[in-house]
Symmetry: C2
Subunit: 366 residues, 2 copies
């Protein structure tokens, strides 16, 4: 087992928390119980994960009053209506301000559980037990919680840090291949934005990762979590550096909004977004065409899409991007690479260059 820490100061108490990574950790009941300060626990999971892993997690809380809510699976349920349902279940089961919520699932469950914890009675504790690769390497760490609005992804949310993140690498054995690939998109992202050596390691080890070699997966998760924890500790509220974690995401969110959070997985949309952002970086003369090719090749090697949906025109793309959270005072800010393994935020990119990049990526004009 490996142990990392997200280092965060606090006004009232230190908000630093551990990330544990290893096989079989779902059965480490003592650790889970230790992260609960009261005697009330409420587990949120979904219909896919519950039959596989819920009972093992519940076993940790035999001395607690335990509630469970099994939600339908999928990003299309990540909205205020589901939040209302979660809060209703907490109230019906009389959970108090000293309860702890536990997210057992992927990014959707983690984001909703975290936001419910941020809001319920103005804030209760929560724990992340991510069961998808994407949640393990990205969304479960860093305290970004949210639900979607019909007009924009993650537009209703809060910064609310978990008390701990428990990553059982064994659960990836049951993950559908498409979900595994979606998680690899975020893994590739860390290489692109901050770690050239890791990018090269991924190029060599992609076949092992896709074959779910436990050592390769553990290494990829560890390195991803290290990078994420480091960036979050430096800039929790995304006033600067943390924005680089959104590499590929502004383009990706446009795809997700366009497709109604239904047909594309988040990681798939981010994969295409990274390819476009790499091409944009090349168009700006900041990244070599060869390095942009390397990114596209690695994305393709992971079994991920590299082109946007054929019915998403460049104009609509820009329109969706204009509501992104990276817009500040009317200016779109994009994450681009100034070399492979190094990302910067740019707020001065000509719209014409973006449009040309989108068209070159295959987006129709209208």
């Amino acid at each position: 087992m490996r142990r990392l820490s997200v280092q965060l100061p606090g006004e009232v108490r230190d908000r630093s928390y551990p990330i544990l990574i290893g096989p079989g950790l779902l059965d480490d009941g003592a650790t889970l119980r230790n992260w609960v300060s009261g005697r009330e626990v409420f587990i949120l999971t979904n219909a896919t994960v519950a039959p596989l892993y819920l009972a093992r997690v519940e076993a940790a809380f035999s001395d607690c009053r335990l509630g469970t809510l099994v939600l339908p699976d999928g990003e299309s349920h990540k909205h205020l209506g589901t939040l209302d349902r979660i809060i209703g279940a907490l109230l019906e089961q009389r959970h108090s301000r000293s309860t702890t919520l536990l997210a057992l699932g992927g990014g959707v469950i983690g984001d909703m559980t975290g936001f419910a914890a941020a809001c319920y009675q103005r804030g209760v504790d929560f724990i992340q037990v991510p069961t998808t690769l994407l949640a393990q390497v990205d969304s479960s760490i860093g305290g970004k919680t949210a639900v979607n609005h019909a007009l924009g992804k993650n537009m209703i949310g809060a910064f609310h840090q978990p008390r701990g993140v428990l990553i059982d690498t064994d659960v990836l054995a049951t993950l559908p291949q498409r979900e595994l690939a979606a998680g690899l998109a975020e893994v590739i992202k860390y290489g692109c934005i901050r770690d050239l050596q890791f990018f090269a390691w991924l190029e060599s080890n992609m076949p092992a990762l896709l074959a779910r070699d436990p050592d390769a997966l553990a290494q990829a998760i560890l390195r991803s979590c290290e990078t994420k924890a480091e960036v979050v500790a430096l800039d929790e509220r995304e006033s600067g550096l943390r924005a680089i974690l959104n590499f590929g995401h502004t383009f990706g969110h446009a795809i997700e909004t366009h497709t109604g959070y239904q047909s594309w997985l988040h990681g798939e949309a981010v994969a295409v977004g990274m390819v476009i952002a790499a091409r944009l970086s090349a168009a700006l003369g900041m990244l070599s065409a060869a390095d942009a090719d390397r990114i596209e090749a690695l994305v393709r090697a992971a079994g991920l899409p590299t082109a946007p949906p054929s019915d998403l025109g460049a104009a609509a793309f820009l329109d969706h991007m204009a509501v992104d959270k990276k817009v500040v005072d009317g200016r779109l800010r994009l994450i681009v690479l100034d070399g492979l393994g190094s990302a910067v935020v740019r707020g001065d990119i000509e719209q014409g260059v973006i449009v040309a990049t989108l068209l070159a990526a295959g987006a129709p004009h209208e």
Copy 2:
């Protein structure tokens, strides 16, 4: 004009903010503009307040991109559905993370605007311009924001402090008498929990307050805001002291939940709650019967109700109270007085004593 300050430290920046109190402040555009850091402003108000005061507030932001949303008036609209509508309006009008929301209205507008500001893109700035006495002396100060759930009042919310609170005492001239009285309930509360001298002053000046004597109202608002700011600065997140501000509120919330947030104003429910809490304090031997009588007499003198709705039985009362945020690990915590002008939190009160007090207050047995 009087200027107070809520003193709050911050991890990233100092979060202290000013409260300005005086006549005609709605026309102090320079102050309002100065509290906006970007160039985007979104005003939330309701159909009652908008025709009276909206144009004067809008005038402050002639150099900003300005959006406005006029909501229906009333506590029954303080729910997630309205939050969804607010977020939708912000997204449609392309407000970015650097926008500032402004609450122009009473407690409902303030609570919803504050929560929308806490959630929109994971947090934007907001300003409070309270137009009811209740909002001026209580809900606009201290950063408690929330919406109601069908199963409980203020159950979905956040601590999110405004950048400033502008209290124009002239606006009380247009306030319906019933709303004025509801605000006086919270004013009386400050006397009960922390300020015997102020309580006595209120006993002498209640006729002047009800006649809207400007000097008397200004004095009552100032003293109330001073007390609120002091308590919030000492315990922002309500880990201890701040709970005394909920004197009368647990009983009051039960009345509001029972009546569906429709027929009773918050201040009216709190008024009855304070009378019950005072009687409970007397039953516990902590407060003299004479002082409980003084509280009931002052509540009555303000034109406020002193008995709960006749169809709310003691058992249902307890049931509603059991979902209150003051419940910790299954134990109901209530604010009681250990003498007039001094409040304490008690978590060990026998249910039999509470039931007897409710029955004596006029609640039917079932």
